[in-house]
């Protein structure tokens, strides 16, 4: 049986997180937040409210000034995140690897702000990230970009010469197929449109086998039609793979349509937190005026699909 199962069913837990940048800018103040597995959390707030910082502290691209960020049920041998639904994850592991030995599992609560080096990199390989500017490698082909999602699963020499094993290529091609862009496999990434680039980035996170996906304004550089397309792909992979999603969005209607929970951030503090199904859309929109500190207008919505 599994060694330790924590009582609380929380996948991610921010405890009193503060972040002040070296130049004195206070980005986060006393952030406390618990996120359950499978949630789709939309973080809303004005630009500069601390949304991007919050997301980046989760995978420690940005470190915290004080406070802790816990991940529940992390196997301390492999730093894989098992999350709330351990039995399901074990089943998944067994399917991947028939010799998987669950008695060796040692699940513990890990504070990502306290780990460094190889352990931190292993933790990060569970956590995908999608960016506003896509951040795919433009001078490489689409398939190479998706394969770069496998770097943490391969020895360094393979990643340096770019020689990935056949099974990784299969994983990459399947990921491309799932975001419906298989026909662009051998294209140079710079030749793609914005929406296609973002789909390649999603495929990269799929290849990475992310349990948690952080999306920093994933559709802010896209036109309305592509916006809905990309949001649908994000929603689809989260539902199908049980990925926990945390997305900074600046369109309120996208949050209402795709997220299960809305968290409002204002001047580095969490000022609003609600399950979307618990309240009428219009009431949430009214509440958000206090988060934004101004009435909402047309530009806060993408509009009709």
């Amino acid at each position: 049986m599994v060694a330790i199962i924590l009582k609380e069913h929380t996948m991610i837990k921010f405890v009193n997180v503060n972040k002040t940048y070296p130049n004195g800018t206070v980005a986060l103040t006393d952030v406390n937040l618990e996120i359950k597995e499978g949630e789709f959390v939309a973080i809303l707030g004005l630009s500069g409210a601390g949304k991007s910082t919050m997301l980046r502290t989760l995978n420690q691209i940005i470190d915290v000034t004080s406070g802790n960020i816990y991940f529940n049920n992390v196997d301390i041998n492999t730093y894989e995140i098992y999350g709330d639904n351990i039995e399901k994850e074990i089943e998944k592991q067994k399917k991947k690897n028939p010799e998987f030995d669950e008695s060796k599992l040692n699940l513990q609560e890990i504070d990502i702000t306290q780990i460094k080096g190889k352990k931190l990199r292993k933790m990060r390989s569970n956590i995908g990230m999608i960016f506003q500017n896509f951040n795919i490698i433009k001078r490489m082909s689409v398939i190479q970009n998706v394969l770069s999602g496998r770097i943490s699963y391969n020895p360094i020499w393979r990643t340096i010469i770019g020689l990935f094993p056949k099974k990784d290529k299969e994983i990459a091609l399947e990921a491309l197929d799932r975001v419906d862009i298989l026909e662009k496999t051998y294209h140079r990434a710079s030749d793609l449109s914005g929406g296609q680039m973002q789909r390649v980035a999603i495929a990269r996170s799929l290849a990475q086998n992310a349990k948690i996906l952080l999306a920093d304004e994933p559709v802010a550089s896209l036109d309305p039609i592509t916006t809905f397309e990309v949001m649908k792909f994000l929603k689809k992979i989260c539902d199908e793979d049980g990925i926990t999603m945390i997305a900074n969005l600046h369109h309120v209607d996208l949050a209402l349509e795709y997220a299960t929970r809305i968290v409002g951030v204002r001047e580095g503090r969490i000022v609003y937190d609600i399950q979307v199904k618990d309240k009428k859309d219009q009431d949430i929109i009214n509440d958000l005026e206090t988060v934004y500190g101004r009435p909402l207008s047309q530009k806060d919505f993408v509009g009709e699909e």
Binding site: R121, I137, K138, S152, A201
Partner: protein, 264 residues
């Protein structure tokens, strides 16, 4: 003019900065001329010597000597190639250490930059003279001098390019669990490789010209030939060396800059 329009017009900015910069530049040029003893009179007075020299060099040059120029010139080009490419290989790791967005250790960046500046301060000719005294007369000393010269040039331009990359791609590789080597391979190399190759070619162009004089201190190549005929005052032979070298440099520059245009 419409007075209402004039009233709403913002105050015209004063161009103090422009005029003071202009005055400063003029002052620098004039004082530089004074301090270096530059004199137009001297030029005019010595003009006839210059015309005599030019006449003995190019009217006509020693065409029959042309065959003997090719071999040392090729040696010069070989020295330039070896120097630029070895310098370029050494320059990349140094550029990575100097770039403050790859290695975020300030004292290390500063130390490496200081070290690179030090090498760039020493003229290639002085380096060549120093290495001739270490390795003896011959093209090896020249290659070492050009290597160090190219190293200084390429590493500086490359670390500036590394610092100007799109950092988002670095963040993406970090988020994938990548280490420094992965970041280098996937986020930095693809972004700076074209510029880096372009700088290497540029260093090669500069080196071909620099290499031509290195022989003067005994570091091999066409410079040694220059020295012999200048000492013997055979200016017609000096003339033909200049003509052939000029054509070679022109061809190399044309090819190299055509490649560089395609790279970036």
């Amino acid at each position: 003019m419409n007075p209402e329009l004039v009233a709403r017009l913002p105050k015209k900015p004063k161009r103090i900065k422009f005029y003071s910069t202009l005055a400063l530049v003029v002052a620098i040029i004039v004082s530089a001329a004074v301090f270096s003893g530059f004199s137009i009179l001297d030029i005019i007075n010595n003009l006839r010597f210059a015309t005599r020299l030019l006449k003995s060099m190019f009217f006509p040059p020693a065409w029959d000597y042309a065959d003997n120029v090719i071999k040392p010139l090729l040696q010069t080009i070989q020295m330039a190639i070896a120097g630029s490419f070895i310098g370029a290989i050494l320059a990349f790791p140094a550029a990575l250490l100097a770039a403050n967005n790859f290695i975020k250790i300030k004292w290390l960046n500063t130390t490496v930059r200081l070290f690179l500046n030090f090498f760039r301060t020493i003229p290639a000719l002085v380096l060549a003279a120093l290495f001739v005294s270490i390795f003896g007369i011959g093209s090896f000393a020249g290659v070492v001098a050009l290597t160090i010269f190219s190293f200084g040039l390429i590493s500086k331009m490359t670390y500036e390019s590394i610092e100007a990359i799109d950092y988002g791609q670095v963040e993406a590789i970090i988020s994938l669990g990548g280490n420094k080597l992965n970041i280098f391979r996937y986020a930095i190399l693809p972004q700076v490789l074209p510029q880096y190759m372009s700088y290497t070619l540029y260093a090669f162009e500069v080196n071909v010209r620099a290499a031509a004089v290195l022989g003067y201190v005994g570091a091999g190549g066409v410079g040694q030939t220059y020295q012999i005929w200048l000492d013997l005052r055979r200016f017609d032979r000096v003339g033909i060396i200049i003509i052939i070298s000029f054509v070679a440099v022109l061809i190399i520059d044309l090819i190299s800059s055509a490649i560089r245009r395609r790279l970036v």
